[in-house]
């Protein structure tokens, strides 16, 4: 089901410290699709506090909110909707095509009253695997037409994170999926403990933007309407979007990030075949992937991103540097950096021709 290099794009199955008083107004997108922000994190990490801030602060935007534990927000708002988590494994039995049917139903229904709000927030339960939630936005046609996944925000309880992360996969996966990481309740730990939490979080996901807060006090302008899943946004961030990974990789089954670069133009067919094979064999373990490529024989930037086995891709504007460098990043479990590096290097057109 994977089309890595299709002409039209589309989907397929493949340290900042925040000031509490800083407030900026989130700017809404203009392409007509309603942005959706996903809030994940363990119970007690501060999701409800953040939700209440978004719903009550005077930023001039209206949000519809989908929650899993109704009543917890304590806000009387007809746009707060209760979702009973209804996970659905698609017919092909592939875990990576698991979606949340309740979200499809509720978000499609919300779009029948789209005039009532500017954006949608989806809160997941503390124990939820973010995969099905994120994948839902890639695989459902109706949602793709009308809403766009904006950002995955993960809240981390500074005090309890280290105790959970080694026991429960979900805690680690919530960090791996994030575009924005908020280490909350920093007032409850020492500087040393906070440093250890940061290092662990960065080892899992070095690319997300990181904030440390008290009372979920992050500037809302830093988390709402960020366009994190927008391929054009990814292009604008290039080339800085993939900084080098930390060197101290642990070689166990924990989640890590691998960044790869290639200074030679990439052979489209080779790359496509390699990605297909990779996500078929390791898609379950790859949580997020992103890349910007220089394709041999094409002047345009080729940009893609994926969640497990589902991918979005499109062509961007022309490269404007004399020696374009292709970059890829994977965040996942059991990633073999050397093997990935050598198989990516083999996609260079000069190697393909040899």
């Amino acid at each position: 089901m994977t089309e890595i290099l299709n002409e039209t794009g589309g989907s397929a199955c493949a340290e900042d410290v925040c000031q509490d008083d800083a407030r900026t107004v989130p700017q809404m997108s203009t392409d007509g699709k309603t942005p959706v922000t996903i809030l994940t994190g363990y119970l007690g990490a501060g999701k409800t506090t953040l939700l209440n801030r978004i719903l009550t602060e005077n930023h001039g935007k209206r949000y519809a909110v989908v929650v899993n534990e109704f009543g917890e927000t304590g806000i009387d708002n007809e746009l707060v909707l209760d979702a009973e988590e209804e996970i659905f494994e698609m017919n092909n039995g592939c875990i990576c095509c698991t979606v949340r049917g309740d979200l499809i139903r509720i978000l499609s229904g919300l779009m029948d009253r789209a005039d009532d709000f500017d954006g949608i927030l989806v809160e997941t339960t503390g124990l939820a695997d973010p995969g099905p939630v994120v994948q839902t936005f890639f695989v459902d046609d109706d949602l793709r037409d009308r809403v766009k996944l904006d950002t995955v925000v993960t809240l981390i309880d500074a005090k309890h994170f280290l105790g959970k992360v080694d026991e429960q996969h979900e805690a680690e996966e919530q960090v791996a999926f994030a575009d924005v990481l908020i280490i909350n309740k920093q007032d409850l730990v020492s500087d040393g403990e906070l440093g250890t939490v940061k290092a662990k979080v960065r080892q899992i996901n070095p690319h997300a933007r990181l904030f440390t807060t008290t009372n979920s006090g992050v500037d809302l302008g830093e988390i709402l309407d960020q366009g994190s899943f927008d391929l054009q946004t990814l292009l604008e961030l290039e080339p800085g979007f993939l900084e080098e990974d930390p060197e101290d990789h642990e070689h166990d089954d924990s989640i890590t990030s691998v960044s790869l670069t290639c200074g030679e133009p990439i052979d489209a067919r080779r790359f496509s075949e390699w990605m297909r094979m990779l996500i078929r064999e390791q898609g379950t373990d790859i949580f997020r992937s992103k890349g910007i490529l220089k394709i041999n024989g094409d002047d345009r930037r080729y940009v893609f991103q994926g969640v497990h086995m589902v991918m979005d891709s499109e062509w961007g504007v022309d490269w404007d540097t004399p020696a374009p460098v292709s970059r890829l990043v994977f965040i996942g479990r059991n990633l073999d950096e050397e093997a990935l590096a050598s198989s990516f290097a083999a996609c260079a057109a000069i190697k393909a021709a040899a």
């Binding site: 659905f88 049917g101 229904g109 789209a114």
Partner: protein, 373 residues
């Protein structure tokens, strides 16, 4: 049960490939354009006899407008506080459900309104009225609720079916009105409305998103998230798949027997697909494909009640009217990027097509002496 797969090979729509400047409306088409107060969520042609009440239009703000076939606004109803999610009629009564948890019945003759059900904070969906018995059914969460109406025989009891594995996604009455089909995760459950059984589940692993019952009562068809139709033949106990859709085929409808052998009409592809069912099902026959490629993706369908025609509305705002035998088609509305959210035939001779869009346009299209190409 046995399973077969028949695929038609339909290319994915490629938006923007149609040259809007060269698209022409079919000769004889005249259109009255109006604007609604909000996005149109439902369009339902009315079969009653009240003058000036040709079609009901439900909106995202909870209002309902009733219009004549000439596009004149008749009764303007405000029964709901949130988006209208279903309209159905029987005789001169219009039923409506919404995201405010209410089911209302409007008597179009005398203007009276009754609230038949209310559950604040919950969304009602999948409104259907039973032929013959006058029972009305809708879904709320994992429950399907069946209620008698003024048209039902006295003493008719209500039912609440809640033994479903997920939220209810679709409902359909059997043609005799004695059974209710409920779609959900991994199948469709058939409930008898005399309380005589515990429900019979037709199993097929999948996320079923809509259900429909053939006019002869023989076939139950569901649409799935996996972009297929699943068909159960209740006579032979066989089931089979109809696939090849580039998107979810969630609008299902049937042609009437008066216009020829019965066909199942549905959305989801870049053409309207009409599967030949006749008396025995499609066998290995392909569907008639109505329309042109590259006009977008079909989001709404409406078979004509008396002529062998079908109307199809697209994501692009295009509306086509086509012949059910050969698939020849004519443009009835030109693309304007307003996704068609509902359409239905209106008027005594059903020569008007009412079309609503997500952007709030409401058009009344008179087809006149339609010539198809």
């Amino acid at each position: 049960m046995e399973t077969d797969v028949w695929n038609t090979d339909m290319p994915a729509p490629s938006p923007g490939a149609i040259d809007q400047g060269t698209t022409r409306l079919a000769p004889g088409i005249t259109t009255i354009n109006t604007r609604a107060q909000a996005n149109v969520t439902r369009v339902k042609g009315l079969s009653g006899s009240v003058e000036g009440c040709g079609v009901a239009v439900g909106l995202g703000n909870g209002e309902i407008g009733v219009f004549s076939s000439a596009g004149d606004l008749g009764p303007h109803l405000k029964p709901h506080d949130a988006a209208v999610t279903g309209l159905a009629d029987q005789g001169d009564t219009l039923f409506s459900i919404a995201q405010d948890g209410r089911l209302s019945a409007h008597d179009l003759k005398n203007g009276n309104r009754n609230t038949l059900f209310t559950s604040p904070g919950e969304w009602l969906s999948s409104l259907v009225v039973a032929p013959k018995t006058g029972m009305v059914a809708f879904a709320v969460g994992k429950k399907a609720i069946v209620l008698p109406t003024a048209q039902s025989e006295s003493g008719a009891q209500d039912f609440e079916f809640d033994n479903h594995p997920s939220s209810v996604s679709g409902l359909a009455f059997s043609p005799d009105g004695k059974r209710l089909a409920v779609s959900h995760y991994d199948g469709v459950t058939l409930w008898s409305l005399d309380g005589s059984d515990e429900g019979v589940t037709l199993c097929w692993k999948g996320f079923h998103i809509a259900v429909s019952w053939s006019p002869d009562g023989r076939f139950v068809v569901s649409a799935t998230q996996e972009r297929e139709l699943h068909v159960w033949d209740l006579v032979t106990d066989k089931d089979f798949r109809l696939g090849g859709y580039p998107a979810k085929p969630h609008m299902l409808d049937w042609t009437t027997p008066e216009t020829g052998p019965v066909q199942l009409v549905c959305s989801g592809a870049d053409v309207v697909t009409a599967w030949p069912f006749g008396d025995v099902g499609p066998g290995r026959l392909p569907p008639v494909e109505i329309g042109y490629v590259y006009t977008g993706r079909v989001t709404a369908v409406a078979p004509h009640p008396t002529r062998p025609l079908v109307a199809g509305g697209y994501t692009t705002g295009t509306v086509l009217i086509g012949g059910l035998q050969k698939g020849e088609a004519a443009f009835a509305r030109i693309a304007d990027d307003e996704t068609i959210s509902g359409l239905d035939w209106v008027g005594a001779s059903s020569n008007v097509l009412a079309v609503g869009t997500r952007g709030g346009s409401l058009d009344f299209i008179t087809i006149g002496e339609l010539r198809l190409q």
